[in-house]
């Protein structure tokens, strides 16, 4: 819709950009952005404006303000991964996905906050501090928390965004941009999407290029897409997907961008409900919503059946081994020699390496490196790494079997509960939290499957809850069609933020979900 508005001249790209930048400033307390690229964004907006004036916009994304998670390389703009190791690092190149967005005329507002090197499920463990969930400041949440009569003030009651792409989710959720890039390795796009009430899409592994995405687990990472509605996600996907010669793990086949039907139909679909996703700790609220959702599909004529993914319970441990092993390997390059932080310790190369890495990485990163190296030791490799690879194959096969038996899409919860307050969240360490929070999202990364979070309803506490759809490899069209249908059914409410109201203007007011498509 905003794209149409740009086209028809109701609003100009520069005005749009300025308003977003202003909103970023007034929502600074959310800490969603690490870097705001004000100058370059305005320049891009000006260029876009010229194109619109000539009647030659580059496409639907021309002039649309977007944000990018700070683990994507952006030429000339700092890329930190929320780590001391890369503070001040200015990359000389753009990640392929960033380049593609820029080539479409999108306006890059800035880089969003995350857990350090994308390790975490809260967006709380980066060096720039935690990201605050915009819903903490929503009328909906505040109304519900007044009923809790403790004398805590608003300040300490704020809830987390989830992670690790919390900054991107918060940015989209608070209207500071129309779409954001995240990354998803174990649920890092879908988890914060669920907690922040936005759409979070994890595409099939190999569909979108990882060139320029600073890797966590090369065999599971994908760039993630966060938007306010499913149609927008489809548009962004269309501009990003396809073979990249710079990334040898992208598929060679030609990708054709698709448009979703305006009246999606799910009556011919077979929806699977995996019983193992009724995981311990799943809140009764979410369980009820899940059930309601299944009924919605049933009533629409879809076939809804219970299925089993028996190896689900091994996925946490398996993920832990494979993830830490790859992390240990990927982080080996951070030695302070060519780029990034370099310690002043210079007694010897080795002592410089050790000091640099101790100073540059936080506990979480260091912990994973040590674990990973342990699993890769010669005497452990067979028992841990190889075993985990085998278990991964079993987990992937679970999905193959289910999809092979006629099920088109799986419907599951995305998270175990709604967002917890920050002070609760930090009572447990990162590893414990990740293990708990990733349980429902991780398996899709192990199997390389596409999955999407669709905001479903507000919890009793007034916070967003989402549900997850998992599809067949490279069947994003079918997946997004079902997601769009569901989105239309549930009519998830718009966040009511004071700050946004202050910056109210036509665009945001007369649309239910301020989308750009």
């Amino acid at each position: 819709q905003v794209s149409a508005a740009l086209k028809e001249g109701h609003v100009t790209p520069t005005k749009l950009c300025q308003r977003c930048l202003a909103l970023i400033k007034s929502t600074k307390f959310l800490n969603a952005y690490i870097t705001v690229a004000e100058e370059t964004a305005l320049k891009q907006a000006e260029e876009s404006e010229k194109r619109y004036k000539r009647g030659q916009p580059l496409g639907v994304l021309d002039g649309i303000p977007i944000a990018v998670k700070d683990n994507f390389n952006t030429a000339g703009i700092e890329t930190t991964c929320a780590s001391n190791m890369l503070k001040g690092y200015i990359s000389p190149y753009n990640a392929t996905v960033v380049q593609k967005l820029l080539d479409q005329g999108a306006v890059l507002l800035g880089k969003t906050n995350l857990d350090e090197f994308a390790m975490g499920s809260g967006s709380t463990d980066g060096v720039f501090g935690p990201v605050r969930n915009p819903w903490s400041y929503s009328r909906q949440y505040k109304e519900k928390s007044i009923s809790k009569s403790h004398s805590e003030d608003e300040e300490s009651n704020w809830v987390i965004t989830g992670g690790s792409s919390g900054g991107s989710a918060a940015a989209v959720s608070s209207f500071t941009c129309f779409a954001a890039l995240g990354s998803d390795t174990g649920g890092s796009t879908r988890n914060p999407a669920a907690h922040c009430g936005v759409v979070g899409l994890k595409p099939t592994y190999g569909l979108i290029s990882r060139h320029g995405l600073i890797p966590l687990v090369n065999s599971m990472d994908v760039p993630g897409i966060l938007t306010r509605c499913v149609d927008d996600a489809a548009v962004v996907l269309g501009s990003l997907a396809g073979h990249d010669p710079k990334d040898s793990t992208t598929i060679q086949d030609n990708f054709k961008p698709f448009e979703l039907p305006s009246l999606p139909d799910v009556s011919k679909l077979s929806i699977g409900i995996p019983k193992e996703y009724h995981a311990p700790g799943l809140s009764s609220e979410i369980l009820a919503l899940w059930s309601k959702a299944a009924d919605l599909f049933k009533n629409a004529g879809a076939k809804v059946i219970e299925v089993s993914l028996p190896h689900t319970r091994y996925s946490i441990v398996c993920y832990h081994v494979l993830c830490t092993a790859e992390v240990a390997s990927n982080m080996a390059r951070f030695d302070g020699l060519e780029y990034g932080h370099r310690s002043d310790m210079n007694k010897s190369t080795e002592s410089m390496y050790a000091a640099t890495r101790r100073e540059g990485f936080n506990d979480v990163v260091r912990g994973r490196i040590l674990s990973g190296n342990y699993f890769l030791l010669k005497q452990n490799y067979e028992n841990y790494f190889i075993k985990a690879q085998k278990v991964r194959r079993l987990i992937a096969n679970d999905f193959l079997k289910v999809f092979g038996s006629g099920v088109d899409i799986l419907l599951t919860p995305t998270t175990l509960s709604d967002a917890v307050p920050y002070r609760e969240f930090i009572k447990e360490d990162n590893r414990t939290r990740s293990a708990q929070d990733d349980i429902l999202t991780q398996a899709a990364n192990m199997a390389g499957l596409p999955a999407i979070n669709v905001p479903t309803a507000l919890s009793e506490r007034g916070l967003p809850v989402g549900l997850q759809f998992i599809g067949r490899s490279f069947q994003e069209k079918q997946l997004l069609t079902a997601a769009k249908w569901f989105e239309k059914q549930v009519k998830f409410p718009m966040i009511q933020l004071e700050e946004v109201k202050r910056h109210s203007h036509d665009i945001f007011q007369h649309q239910k979900s301020a989308s750009f498509s």
Partner: protein, 501 residues
């Protein structure tokens, strides 16, 4: 019989003994090994030793760009001028496999009689070092591109060119891997200088099984490999430019007993030094063991000035390289005529059969052809191929002269080649062209000059003054006198002269 290693070892050792002598004990050991045979005798003169030598050879692939990135491959460029983002290990960069490097490895595998693995894998080998920006090297540890081949090479026995024996060494495997950068330690300023130009250049690691028994065999095997690589064009294999690096694995054991502990010898910069290093190390190990010592499984460097091996200070303890599959590279799939899918053209894939059909004649084939075509001896063919451009020179001379190739070869190998060697010139730099040589040999063949005169002419030609052989002959009045009468007169004059004394 005094063939094989023992006698050769003695010869090589004596040759080494002429230069800086590694240790006074060495000579004693050499003397007592005169018994020869395939085993060595220590200074006690009683029980024999069996030396075992294996080689790991790294050959830089001759290609325009590096193995996984597009930066150029060039020797001696300004430091850090050929470094792409990937080579510098900038975060977020990914490897993209270079097709030409794969072809080079397939060619080499085929030339060495290997089975080419239609599916091979890439792995990461982790260790921290200043010249390894990513903290790991991408190599092929689990399934390399080629396995189970063989290399035949020839040796002269007892220093006589006339007796050559053919030996074979098994090739365990050939794997593709990245080269590292270069680091220079500046001790005066306590700093290390790192040049990443070489980081990421494609290497073929050729592993030769421990089938060799002495320095000479190792040297001959490497020389033959070098020729093969240069013939294929898969590597320029010039050791002086670091395009061919050899590490030797050396151990000794008693006959019938299990293999001894081996040491790895590195830092060998020429084929000549390879033979020296291996022989020194064998000798060192024998002495150590005979004195009741033990051999450490260590890495040693060859010190060419002192002619000995010394422990390398950098390597402490055994490294665990924490091998892991390289997740950013799918398995490397190669095709042959049978498995090639119908709709793929050969531009998109590497077809083993296609490469096989286009392999040039290998050195062994070239030599056989030379022997057959020109009637020269096998050892002549070795000498011809051993010198860059010499075969071509020889063939050009043969084409332009009536002299039989069997005679020509003597002039080429004994006269021309020794001149070149004396003045450290390559064939390309020879002031005598093949045409001039041919002209000269024609004069000789037509009996217009004697062979002594011919040598004088050569000495003149060597000065490079652009005179033809005929001109020199006329100038120096070197023509053979053909006239019988004239000869009689001269002889008579000489006899008369004698009588007068």
């Amino acid at each position: 019989a005094a063939r094989g290693c023992g006698g050769v070892w003695r010869w090589a050792w004596q040759r080494g003994a002429r230069g800086p002598s590694p240790s006074p004990r060495g000579q004693r050991a050499a003397a007592s090994s005169a018994r020869g045979g395939a085993v060595l005798v220590g200074k006690s003169g009683l029980a024999p030793w069996v030396p075992v030598v294996g080689l790991e050879i790294h050959a830089q692939i001759s290609s325009n760009s590096k193995l996984f990135s597009g930066s150029q491959v060039q020797f001696a460029a300004p430091p850090n001028s050929l470094v792409s983002f990937f080579d510098a290990s900038l975060p977020g960069t990914l490897p993209v496999l270079n097709r030409r490097c794969v072809e080079a490895a397939v060619m080499t595998g085929l030339a060495l009689n290997c089975s080419i693995n239609k599916k091979s894998l890439f792995d990461r080998k982790h260790y921290f070092y200043a010249d390894l920006p990513a903290g790991y090297q991408i190599t092929q540890q689990r399934v390399p591109i080629a396995v189970n081949g063989s290399l035949s090479y020839s040796l002269c026995i007892d220093n006589k060119m006339s007796q050559m024996v053919t030996k074979t060494v098994r090739i365990k495997q050939i794997q593709l891997e990245q080269d590292s950068g270069k680091s220079l330690h500046d001790d005066t300023r306590s700093q290390t200088l790192v040049d990443l130009n070489r980081a990421g250049v494609g290497l073929m690691e050729v592993v030769m099984e421990p089938d060799m028994c002495c320095g000479e065999e190792a040297a001959a095997a490497v020389r033959e490999l070098q020729l093969i690589l240069q013939t294929l064009g898969s590597s320029q294999a010039v050791m002086a430019e670091g395009q061919l690096r050899v590490d030797a694995n050396v151990s000794v054991h008693r006959p019938g007993k299990p293999y001894g502990v081996r040491t790895e010898v590195k830092n060998i910069n020429s084929i000549r030094f390879l033979a020296k290093a291996v022989d020194y190390e064998i000798q060192r190990q024998i002495e150590e063991l005979e004195n009741g010592g033990t051999i450490l499984n260590e890495t040693r460097a060859f010190d060419s000035k002192l002619g000995c091996t010394v422990p390398m200070r950098d390597k402490e303890g055994k490294q665990d390289y924490r091998f892991m599959p390289e997740p950013n590279l799918p398995p490397l799939i190669l095709y042959d005529a049978k498995s090639l899918p119908a709709n793929m053209n050969h531009q998109q894939v590497v077809n083993i059969d296609w490469i096989h059909e286009r392999l040039p004649d290998l050195p062994s084939v070239k030599r056989a052809k030379l022997v057959e075509q020109y009637g020269i001896l096998p050892e002549h063919s070795f000498a011809l191929l051993n010198e860059d451009g010499l075969t071509e020179f020889f063939e050009n001379v043969v084409k332009q002269t009536q002299m039989k190739p069997k005679k020509v070869i003597g002039w080429i190998l004994n006269v021309l080649l020794s001149y070149l060697k004396q003045h450290s010139l390559t064939v390309k730099e020879s002031p005598i062209s093949s045409l001039m040589m041919a002209d000269l040999l024609n004069l000789l063949e037509k009996k217009e000059i004697s062979s002594t005169a011919a040598k004088q002419v050569l000495a003149e030609l060597w000065k490079g003054e652009e005179k033809t052989p005929l001109e020199i002959v006329k100038e120096k009045k070197l023509e053979l006198i053909q006239d019988q009468k004239e000869l009689e007169q001269i002889c008579q004059a000489v006899i008369d002269g004698q009588e007068n004394e």
